[in-house]
Every structure is written in structure tokens, then in C-alpha cells.
């Protein structure tokens, strides 16, 4: 049995090779899936990080300019994230793949969006009022630090 390969040996070798190839392909799929998961996690991390930074910035540079108009809640969502989850409204370009077997459905007309009415950013005003609290507190304790030469 030494030195020459029998048919059974070759079959076994081929079988092991196929098995290894299958496992290698499985491995590559795992890599692809891991990369995909990694991209998703990184994306979520970026969004959460950005949100946290925004929250921390609140009130640090408050002035009258900060009282900028923000659209109403629905309009704000539309402006900030055009790729947000689709609503029940079907956009004209949304049906890219036509159904082949079913009867053609009538395309619903796009729902007209109401013009957003800007509302003031009251949080910016509240931050300014909070600064008054700080000024009054600092004023209240100042005199006690004066001391006396007596």
C-alpha cells in the first residue's frame, strides 16, 4: 500500500478537498457577514456619538441667534433624514420593480405635504434664562469673599 495511491485513496483525498473547499467558502461567508455587521455597528455608533455630542452642546453658546426656527416635528424629520423609514405615502419613484404576474395597480397620487410652520426653539431661550440663575448665584456669594483688613 506504500508508494502508490489506490482509487479509494484518491476518492478520499477528493472528498477531503471538497470538504475543505466547502469550509473555506463558509469561512468567507462568515467574513462577509462580519464585515456587514461591522459596518452596521459603526454606523450606529456614529449616529449615537453624534447625538451625544449634540446633547452635550446644549446651552453652551446660547444667544439670540440660537433661537433659530425649527420646523414642526414632522417637517424636521423630513429635512434631517431624507432616507428615513418610508411612511404609508408612496412616492412616485418608489415602485422600481413592476409586478409581472399581478394586474397593474393604480399608482396612488403622492400625498401633498403641508408647508411646515416654523416654531421657535424654546430650549435656547431656557438656556439663556439658566445663565441668569448662574449670574445671580455668583453675585450673591461675591461679597462674602471680600473679607476685612480688621
Amino acid at each position: 500500500m506504500h508508494g502508490t495511491a489506490t482509487t479509494a485513496d484518491l476518492d478520499e483525498t477528493t472528498s477531503i478537498g471538497d470538504h475543505a473547499m466547502t469550509l473555506t467558502q463558509t469561512g468567507l461567508r462568515i467574513v462577509a457577514a462580519t464585515i456587514l455587521v461591522g459596518i452596521v455597528i459603526a454606523g450606529c455608533g456614529g449616529r449615537l456619538g453624534a447625538r451625544g455630542a449634540d446633547a452635550a452642546d446644549t446651552g453652551t453658546n446660547a444667544n439670540a441667534d440660537a433661537v433659530a426656527a425649527t420646523a414642526n416635528p414632522s417637517a424636521e424629520a423630513d429635512e434631517q433624514d431624507p432616507s428615513a423609514e418610508p411612511t404609508g405615502t408612496v412616492e412616485p419613484s418608489a415602485s422600481a420593480v413592476p409586478a409581472t404576474s399581478a394586474a397593474p395597480k393604480p399608482t396612488p397620487k403622492p400625498t401633498p405635504k403641508p408647508t411646515p410652520v416654523p416654531t421657535p426653539n424654546l430650549d435656547a431661550l431656557e438656556a439663556l434664562i439658566d445663565q441668569l440663575d448662574a449670574a445671580l448665584a455668583a453675585d450673591a456669594t461675591a461679597t462674602t469673599d471680600e473679607g476685612s483688613p480688621e
Binding site: 461591522g38 456619538g49 440660537a66 439663556l128 434664562i129 445663565q131 441668569l132 449670574a135
Partner: protein, 268 residues
């Protein structure tokens, strides 16, 4: 000869390596994004405890127990140094303020700069003093000729407060226009606006009252000198300015509540 197991192991190694790299990269990117520094808090909001009256208290005790020139010099230098540090904090606050008018900022800059200059000159005199009589006079001057805490600190905070009221009131003026437009739009859309217009009118009244409370206060406070404090003429002006500022704050808080009521009415 049999290379399939080798390829299998190589594949597994490559898989493990790639997985590790991707995970490490993901964690690194996520951590970097999540670890972005938050905005620094407003640390200058109150006077640092290191600048407080207690900082030099041990030196006062020592000098009274052992009244040597060196001990009283230490007292004088400590009292001047804590004032100079406080003035630096105040200067930074004035420089960073987004609410001060140009005229008020210039006036505060002038008060702080002249006080710093005088205290530095006095510090040199104290270092050169050779007798207890000279030291007693110069240490008294630290208090009576400058009134850093009793007057200058209060001038900065009261004027910053007054200008904050004006800026906030201006912000409410802009808010009133937008709230009125929002009420009109809601009414045109058939929404029951309830008492929205009444709340808006109340908001405007509170804003006007806040503005009236502090009108002219900053100029009166900025005109005060250490001599006014020493003859007791500054105290009533400072007291009234503080009360006006507190009342203005109350009006602005009420205005904020009214504005929120407006939004609540038209969003119901």
C-alpha cells in the same frame, strides 16, 4: 501531497484573522465616535473656592499671633494674588460672553484692567515694605481702594445678567412672530387653537416687563467706584439691580411657560 487539509487550515486562519481585523476596526471606529469630547461646562460661573476668603485665613492667624514684617507681607501678597486670579477669571468671562453689548464689555474691560494694574503696583509696594505701619496701610488699601469682590465681581455678574435679559427678550420677540404664524397656520388648517392667542399675549407682556426691569441698571452699576462702596452709596444701587435682575428672570420664566402653552394649544 495531500494539500486539502493545509488549504482548510489556511482558510480557517484567514477567516479568524479577517474577523479579528473587522471587529477591531469596528470597535475602534465606534469608540472614536462615541468618545468625542463633550462641551466643557461653564466653570467660570462661580468664583473658584481657591479664590475665597478662606485661602489666606491661616496667614492672617499666623500674622496676628506673630506680627512680623514677613508674616504681614505674606498676608498682603496672598490677598492680592487671590484677587488677581479672580480678575483673570472675570476677564475670561467677559471675553467669552456672547451677550454683552460692546459698550458694556469695554466698560468692564476698563474696570478689570485698572484694578489689575493697581493691585500689581500695590503688590510691589508690599514686597518693598519694611515696617509694620507701611504694611498695615498697604493691606488696608487692598480692600478699600479696589473692592474686588464687593464691587468689581458684582459689576461683572450684574451687567452680564442685565445683558442676558435683553438678549433673551430679543429672542422672545422673534419667538412671538413665529408663534403667531404657527397659530395662524393652525387656525387656517381648522385646528382648535384654544387659548393660544391669550397665552401669546401674556408671553409678550412678561417679556416687556423683564426688559423694563433691567432698563438702565447696567449703566448705574458700571458707574460705581470703590469709594461709593466705602461711603455706603453703592450698596442700595447694587441691591436694587440684583432685585431687578431676579424679577426679570421671573418674568422670563413665566414668558417661557406661556410660550410652551401656545405650542401645547396648537398641537393638541
Amino acid at each position: 501531497m495531500n494539500r486539502s487539509p493545509l488549504r482548510f487550515r489556511t482558510g480557517i486562519r484567514l477567516t479568524a484573522l479577517a474577523t479579528a481585523l473587522v471587529l477591531a476596526g469596528t470597535i475602534g471606529v465606534g469608540s472614536a465616535l462615541a468618545a468625542r469630547p463633550a462641551a466643557a461646562p461653564d466653570t467660570a460661573a462661580t468664583t473658584d473656592a481657591r479664590h475665597g476668603v478662606g485661602r489666606c485665613a491661616p496667614l492672617w492667624l499666623t500674622a496676628r499671633a506673630d506680627p512680623t514684617v514677613e508674616n504681614w507681607q505674606a498676608v498682603g501678597l496672598c490677598e492680592i494674588d487671590r484677587r488677581l486670579e479672580t480678575l483673570s477669571v472675570l476677564q475670561a468671562k467677559v471675553d467669552a460672553s456672547a451677550v454683552l453689548t460692546d459698550a458694556h464689555e469695554a466698560a468692564l474691560d476698563g474696570i478689570i484692567a485698572s484694578t489689575q494694574e493697581g493691585l500689581r503696583a500695590l503688590r510691589a509696594e508690599i514686597e518693598a515694605d519694611a515696617t509694620l505701619a507701611e504694611l498695615r496701610e498697604d493691606i488696608t488699601s487692598i480692600f478699600e481702594d479696589y473692592r474686588v469682590y464687593a464691587l468689581v465681581v458684582r459689576q461683572v455678574w450684574l451687567v452680564v445678567g442685565d445683558d442676558t435679559v435683553v438678549v433673551t427678550a430679543d429672542g422672545f420677540d422673534a419667538a412671538a412672530d413665529r408663534l403667531e404664524a404657527a397659530i395662524d397656520a393652525a387656525e387656517a388648517a381648522g385646528t382648535d387653537i384654544g387659548d393660544a392667542r391669550e397665552h401669546l399675549a401674556a408671553m409678550i407682556r412678561h417679556v416687556d416687563a423683564a426688559r423694563d426691569e433691567v432698563a438702565g441698571d447696567a449703566e448705574a452699576v458700571l458707574a460705581l467706584t470703590p469709594a461709593d462702596w466705602n461711603d455706603d452709596s453703592a450698596q442700595p444701587i447694587l441691591r436694587e439691580a440684583r432685585q431687578s435682575l431676579a424679577d426679570a428672570r421671573g418674568h422670563l420664566r413665566s414668558a417661557l411657560q406661556e410660550a410652551r402653552q401656545v405650542l401645547a394649544e396648537i398641537e393638541e
